[in-house]
Symmetry: C2
Subunit: 356 residues, 2 copies
DNA sequence: ATGAAAGCGCTAACAC
DNA sequence: GTGTTAGCGCTTTCAT
């Protein structure tokens, strides 16, 4: 009653800049100037600056995010839309992204979108410009038409491992084809002739060259036939890898090696082989894909195709922030190299058995 | 120039409710009424309703999140602050939470806070009420004084696996002590006498009973001595588990079994044992903690303490939304039961070897 | 049944 | 140097 307006803090909510202004005996504008560092334009006297700082500290003032975002038309949040948190693959990417983003004053969050098609929805709901930029992973998510709309409205979008026909959507990918080639060639060099590839279902095979294309190339290069019964499609999980291998072992002409879609599936594969009494790598060789930390601790340690995950995270953020702040970028598509990481699941130097 | 105000859509941004209003030939208020379903109060004629819907669809209108949040003082977002995405432990929790939240009209996001103390900061920055509720995991994060402040301002906070002295912070936990007891007793029943416990550093041992307390209880109950050299503290990772076991194997009086802090560390333990030529469970038994899917695929499959992760996720959300909407809740602390999941890493029925 | 207008908390022109 | 003012896009009384 003594004030035109009750202090917000008194009302139980968070203190507002008006509260700070009242306490410091200055105007709201001054608060904003000081707290956003624009006081460096020497427009604010050192004396007031200190008063404002201390008043803000005393009240525990934090600017209201919604209000600021509304006014500035920018949230300073970049979000990752991931199919699941189950696979630690994204862990390093997100960590690296977070560090890079922080340096530019952005925060990163993750929203897990269930892979069921309809539920990209969760994002669509959030997209009243709740984020300045989004990075999308997972085929289902990348395919969503909402992405184009977002991009059209000025939200920066980068797709992980997925090329969009629309040029407004950037992409950062790893060279899957090269990875597939490297993995398969490694197996061939070790003497294997019947090499299986276990993969997940690929919805739009023409969009992007995947592991299987590199697998084919390596086979062709070595003059090895491509046996369709050796390419099995399964669910993307440890259990899926396990089942796929069991199926392959039923074949009257067993393969002697398998190149697995990713490390998770490879873990399943190792398990299936062990269960069936096959020794790895002596009886059967396995190559994974991703380079997860886990691969060091499998039995035996997993030979795999390592991804530069920290680089991915950093480049994603640089791309996104570039797009947000400059509007448009020269290079729309980044393609990062992979490398073969030799551990023990293929044997190293000794010649493996030829098919039994 | 033909309108008082240029359409926002024309300016390249997202369409606003004013744009929709103009197109439908009604007022902004009507748009809001219709789109928020408050038209069910029969205040809006079916005719206008349809016109609004179609105008909105035509423009691809989505309400601006910042503006709505500002006006309603609520964001309808609940965020998880997790120490890392590396450990898939949280995956199921977050999934279950997302499903529950969605039913109440809330979205869930995750923000990974690096465990280094200073960097809870990232959150503190975001907390200009950017979220209606937050759930915090990880000791470092839970300990942050910012939490109390947030709670004081009306942000609902639940801590995972951590009891706060402040009653305004809710908690949902699993009965760690019981888990430790179950794991250790299982080992004792199998005939082990020298049982190690590998754990991570616990900063404030008095806050909450942890696995190690259950371990002590089981030992005491069986009249077994507590040998301090058998309790080793290591980094929380597969590599940490590995190193801890290697250290234990150096002991002139080796343990015959280890109860590991979590499944990740247990994976490291299995690896170390394998490397040193010990057979599990014949030469050494291992119990994990968490019940990750991964445990089915280790060599051998891991006996562990399973957590009701889906229940945790659901209860967290119910608690949070209850707190947000009702203001205060009867039950502040939830303690959920765990159960022993017997696989093969301890042997099942046959008696293990007594110490070598 | 609908429109007009106020205001959420903040920042950015523009005054003084 | 600092205060005043005008919105950002939305929801919500209160009029009509």
């Amino acid at each position: 009653m003594d004030q035109r307006k009750a202090s917000n803090a008194k009302r139980g909510g968070a203190p507002t800049s008006a509260d700070v202004a009242r306490l410091a005996g200055v105007s709201q504008a001054t608060i904003s100037l000081v707290l956003n560092g624009r006081a460096s334009k020497v427009r604010i006297s050192e004396e007031t600056r200190k008063r404002v700082i201390s008043a803000a500290a005393q009240l525990g003032y934090t600017p209201n995010h919604a209000a600021r975002s509304l006014r500035q038309r920018s949230t300073k949040i970049i979000t990752f839309v991931l199919p699941t948190l189950e696979n630690p693959y994204y862990s390093d990417i997100v960590s690296a992204a977070q560090i890079a983003a922080q340096q530019h004053g952005y925060a990163v969050s993750v929203i897990p979108a269930r892979t069921k098609p309809g539920e990209f929805h969760a994002l669509s709901l959030l997209q009243g410009a709740a984020f300045d930029g989004i990075v999308v992973a997972g085929r289902e998510n990348c395919a969503a038409p909402e992405l184009l709309q977002l991009a059209a409205r000025g939200v920066a979008v980068v797709a992980l491992q997925e090329r969009s026909p629309d040029p407004s959507i950037y992409s950062v990918s790893v060279d899957l084809e090269a990875g597939g080639y490297l993995a398969t060639r490694h197996l061939i060099e070790l003497g294997h002739r019947r090499i299986a590839h276990v993969m997940e279902e690929l919805p739009r095979p023409d969009t992007w060259r995947d592991r299987v294309d590199g697998y084919r190339r390596a086979l062709a290069e070595a003059g090895l036939p491509l046996d369709p019964s050796l390419v099995v499609i399964t669910e993307n999980s440890m259990a899926g890898g396990c089942k796929a291998i069991e199926q392959l072992l039923l074949d009257r002409q067993r393969p002697t090696a398998a190149f697995m879609y990713n490390d998770q599936m490879a873990v399943g594969a190792l398990h299936a082989l062990r269960t069936h009494g096959l020794r790895v790598p002596d009886d059967f060789a396995v190559v994974g894909f991703d380079g997860l930390a886990m691969g060091q601790f499998t039995a035996p340690p997993l030979t795999t195709i390592d991804h530069p995950r920290r680089d991915i995270g950093r480049i994603v953020i640089e791309t996104l922030i570039g797009a947000i702040e400059k509007g448009s970028l020269e290079v729309k598509q980044h393609l990062l190299p992979v490398k073969l990481l030799v551990r023990e699941s293929c044997g190293g130097l000794e010649a493996p058995n030829q098919k039994p």
